[in-house]
Symmetry: C2
DNA sequence: CTCCAGTTTAGATGAAATCCGATCTAGGAG
DNA sequence: CTCCTAGATCGGATTTCATCTAAACTGGAG
């Protein structure tokens, strides 16, 4: 059976479309301040995870983050990665990108752009946000489907003050 | 630890916003023709699965489809549900809606609208497609994030003729 | 320095999805 | 109608992603 999208973490290359990534400023030391700014306790694990994002990585799965952060903090547990990512999410440091397969994370500073997923190989590319009409996709990319996902609080939850 | 979104299949209510669902026309007998139109072999399992969508269900998880279709075809295997949904996807009968938790499926005829996910309870609602600017969301819904996902073939895959 | 709320850990647990070989069957050919 | 085979299904194991739990640890306020 043919895979519509594979489950393996798979390398997630980025398409270089004009806007070079504002190279992450988070050094090991800078990460501490960044954490404190967001009211988060500073721990070696959190710094290591935050620093992983400062590379030119783009979107990362929890597993990729775990693998890379383990280089800094060998005893790191997977649960800690998930806990930390949830904290970062709450603090607005990262945002989630859901698709098929594993959930991906990227710096919230990188937000504003949209995503293109290849229906054949499953890879995820960034798309220039300059208006949904002018997709600014490199030639050769063929859009088959477009889906807009809004996220926030529904009527019931917002009235319950969640 | 608080759940950002639960994993349970969860009831997926639909927001009634003006456009009443074009009630599915697939009866058990009509389903056969619909399958043939798409070049798919007609089997009891496929008919049962297709009929599940003709209810007023909206988005359904593979598990919900399995549960409901089992009423018609008790020996139905989960793998068959996944295989069939993949075939339906390829044939353009259904489309996928990815979010957190299980992947959901809906009739492709219902396509064109977008989705709103509640970040507190995880429920998924339909959003009127009349322009992304005029969301046509019922009062009380608070949009925190917007993400547009394009899907299709990337440069490499489209040149390889996938 | 001391203390404790908040963090982290290892391993168990759970859910979604897929794989695989054996078996069955829809529907075209004869 | 019957036969035949490509394609569909079965069922149960497996894989992957994510979360939970309880015990141990620690950042940083005081």
């Amino acid at each position: 059976m043919e895979h519509i999208a594979s489950w393996e973490p798979s390398r997630i290359p980025r398409v270089s479309n004009g806007s070079p990534r504002a190279t992450g400023t988070a050094t090991i030391s800078g990460a501490a301040g960044q954490l404190r700014e967001h009211g988060l306790r500073v721990t070696p694990q959190r710094r290591a995870i935050l620093v992983v994002f400062s590379g030119d990585a783009g979107h990362l799965s929890a597993d990729q983050i775990f693998e890379q952060a383990t280089g800094e903090v060998p005893e790191l547990a997977r649960a800690t990665v998930y806990n930390t990512l949830t904290e970062f999410l709450r603090a607005g440091i990262v945002r989630r990108v859901v698709g098929l397969g594993a959930v991906l994370y990227e710096l919230d500073a990188d937000a504003g752009h949209h995503h293109f997923r290849c229906s054949a190989c499953g890879e995820l590319f960034d798309v220039n946000p300059e208006g949904a009409a002018a997709l600014d996709l490199p030639g050769g990319f063929e859009v088959e489907r477009t889906q807009i996902m809004f996220e926030g609080l529904c009527e019931r939850c917002s009235s319950e003050g969640n």
